[in-house]
């Protein structure tokens, strides 16, 4: 490009243009992500005491080092909450992803009837908010309104308890499955469609069955989509809140601090223990981050190792 004044002006303009376009995002990112994260970390090292009336009366605060962290991690209720969320995740994540993969592969099988209908029907619950999904299933679990219990009674069986242990975990995982399977299925299905058919034509000619093609060719090729869905599932699962909170009025099994986020909310707004809540948030966020990175690293080597 000739170094005319016009050219220089273009380059000057080009230097600031991307920043101008990105500036709303940068400002909002700073205000609503960076500063809150920093503030949470700061708070987690401070002991807060609210004195006087009102929600935010006079605060007396002091640097308390790692006290909040040791308190949070030695609080049996918080640790139990982490355990509950992990158990719930161990049940729900493999089920959701496994069935999403299964449905996606079935949708991708040639000449299957009613694929459009099945795809739309399975995707539909994605549009239903978690709170409302929990309400719906809650009523389907509640002995006085449940059609399942009704049928069981007609067949002479006793009432079914969906809120006991360990049934509650499966009841919750079922809500996650219902809400999440369609969305994940669509992502996996779409990446299946992106595979050129020529890739498996050869295998078909060699007489490979659809099952073999799915297992040997399709699944390895959609691994990146599986990693993506797995990542979002992990992040979403550990933030479990609205489902147990919604089911709570229906059962006594769910305590007011049943999952970490409920505990955090309770500490922050009922007990005015902001430092403790912040420390518990940081621990949870770090846990999610570590799990996400482990997942990425573990699969990156396997799925992207060849072409990276």
């Amino acid at each position: 490009m000739p170094a005319t004044s016009a050219g220089r002006r273009t380059r000057l303009r080009a230097a600031s243009t991307p920043w101008l376009f990105a500036s709303p995002a940068i400002v909002l990112f700073t205000l609503f992500l960076v500063i809150p994260i920093g503030y949470a970390i700061y708070l987690s090292f401070r002991g807060f005491r609210v004195e006087g009336g009102g929600a935010f009366g006079r605060r007396v605060q002091a640097f308390v080092g790692l006290d909040n962290y040791t308190t949070a991690l030695s609080d049996p209720e918080y640790v139990a909450g982490l355990g509950r969320v992990l158990l719930y995740g161990l049940i729900s994540i493999p089920t959701v992803l496994g069935l999403a993969l299964l449905f996606a592969l079935l949708l991708d099988t040639p000449r299957v009837r009613a694929r459009g209908f099945a795809r739309t029907a399975i995707f539909l619950p994605y549009a239903v908010p978690g709170v409302i999904a929990s309400l719906l299933w809650g009523f389907l679990y509640l002995p006085s309104t449940s059609p399942i219990t009704y049928l069981a009674r007609q067949l002479g069986a006793g009432p079914l308890d969906f809120f006991g242990f360990p049934a509650l975990y499966f009841s919750l995982a079922n809500i996650a499955l219902w809400s999440g399977v369609g969305f994940n299925m669509i992502i996996i299905f779409t990446s299946l469609r992106a595979i050129p058919t020529s890739v498996y034509e050869a295998a078909r000619i060699d007489g490979a069955s659809e099952l073999q093609i799915a297992w040997r060719i399709k699944i390895p090729l959609v691994a990146p989509a599986l990693v993506l869905t797995g990542l979002f599932s992990v992040i979403g699962t550990l933030q479990l809140y609205s489902e147990p909170a919604t089911l709570r009025p229906m059962t006594t099994t769910i305590s007011s601090s049943w999952v970490p986020l409920m505990k955090i909310y309770q500490e922050a707004f009922s007990n005015d223990n902001l430092g403790g809540a912040a420390a518990a948030s940081v621990v949870l966020a770090l846990g999610i981050l570590v799990l996400s990175l482990l997942l990425l690293r573990f699969f990156q080597r396997r799925t992207f190792g060849d072409n990276a």
Binding site: W19, R111, G116, W178
Partner: protein, 297 residues
């Protein structure tokens, strides 16, 4: 979407002549998919049917038998708290609609900048935003509340609207999409014609990214509509509640008073139907390949 099946017998026969065994319509996949569809539709069917029941019918008749209280329930729901339910609906529409539009615009601008300009700090900026995807949004809610409270915004409409405008994943998707959809030559040609950067963005870039933007909009709309913890933490005035939070408090009250159950069920049914319609209509514009390809980008 409608069910599209290629005509059964004639097609099959033609295939059979050429290749006898492999061309049968597979039964098992069809059955499994149908079971999956049934599983997903049953609770929706249940809530629509249950919405028609009077309180007594709800607890006495079989769940899938329609009741006789449809219009009573609807009238009671509308009357509750002086039309509070419809106000919640409007609030949800405001938060999700406006929030998703602004969020999509902000994401499009940032994604375009990151995809189509070479500038110092680009990679750093992109990495930082990408890291934002991994930050669990809900963990931010408490510090966000405290910060907004300190500037007097907690409890206002802004407190639930502003935090959802920034969407790192949306920015990430917009970058992937801008990379794929906008040829460098088009931008060069427009610049040579003397078009300003803002005009290029408004008249060339946005229309070319339209399909991807619909996806980002839909994701964010559903995300905000479904969001529970943010409004739960931010709002105390019931008149500002979105529909999810409203129904949640409704159920909390219903625990002591099962006469409220039919209203909760009616409310769930009413709030589910428009969202399902929206997804069905917009599904055709939805570019899931954008999500699927995301990780490679």
């Amino acid at each position: 979407m409608t069910v599209v099946t290629t005509t059964g017998t004639t097609g099959d026969r033609q295939f059979r002549r050429r290749r006898p065994r492999a061309r049968r319509r597979p039964r098992l996949p069809f059955t499994v998919l149908l079971l999956g569809a049934l599983y997903c539709l049953t609770p929706v069917a249940w809530v629509v049917i249950a919405a028609s029941k009077t309180p007594r019918e709800l607890f006495t008749t079989f769940s899938f038998a329609p009741g006789s209280g449809l219009f009573d329930n609807l009238a009671n729901l509308s009357a509750y708290g002086g039309g509070q339910f419809w106000r919640w609906g409007l609030n949800s529409l405001l938060y999700a609609g406006l929030g998703a539009i602004l969020s999509t615009l902000v994401s499009a601008m940032a994604g375009y900048a990151l995809a189509k300009f070479r500038f110092r700090g680009r990679e750093v900026l992109f990495s930082v935003i990408l890291a934002g995807v991994l930050v669990p949004g809900i963990v931010l809610a408490v510090p966000q509340y405290l910060l907004l409270a300190s500037v007097g915004l907690a409890g206002t409409h802004w407190s639930v609207l502003l935090p959802v405008i920034i969407n790192p994943f949306g920015i990430f998707l917009c970058r992937v999409f801008a990379n794929a959809a906008i040829p460098e030559s088009t931008l060069e040609a427009a610049r040579l014609d003397g078009a300003g950067e803002l005009r290029i963005f408004g008249t060339i870039v946005l229309p070319m990214m339209a399909q991807g933007l619909v996806t980002v909009f839909l994701l964010q709309f559903v995300g905000i509509w479904n969001n529970f913890l943010l409004p739960f933490i931010m709002l105390s005035d019931q008149d500002k509640y979105p529909i999810t939070l409203g129904l949640y408090t409704f159920l909390g009250k219903g625990a002591g008073d099962s006469d409220l159950y039919p209203l909760v069920i009616m409310g769930s049914a009413v709030s589910v139907i428009p969202l399902i319609a929206l997804v069905l209509v917009l599904q055709r514009f939805w570019r899931a390949d954008l999500l699927a390809g995301g990780l490679k980008g």
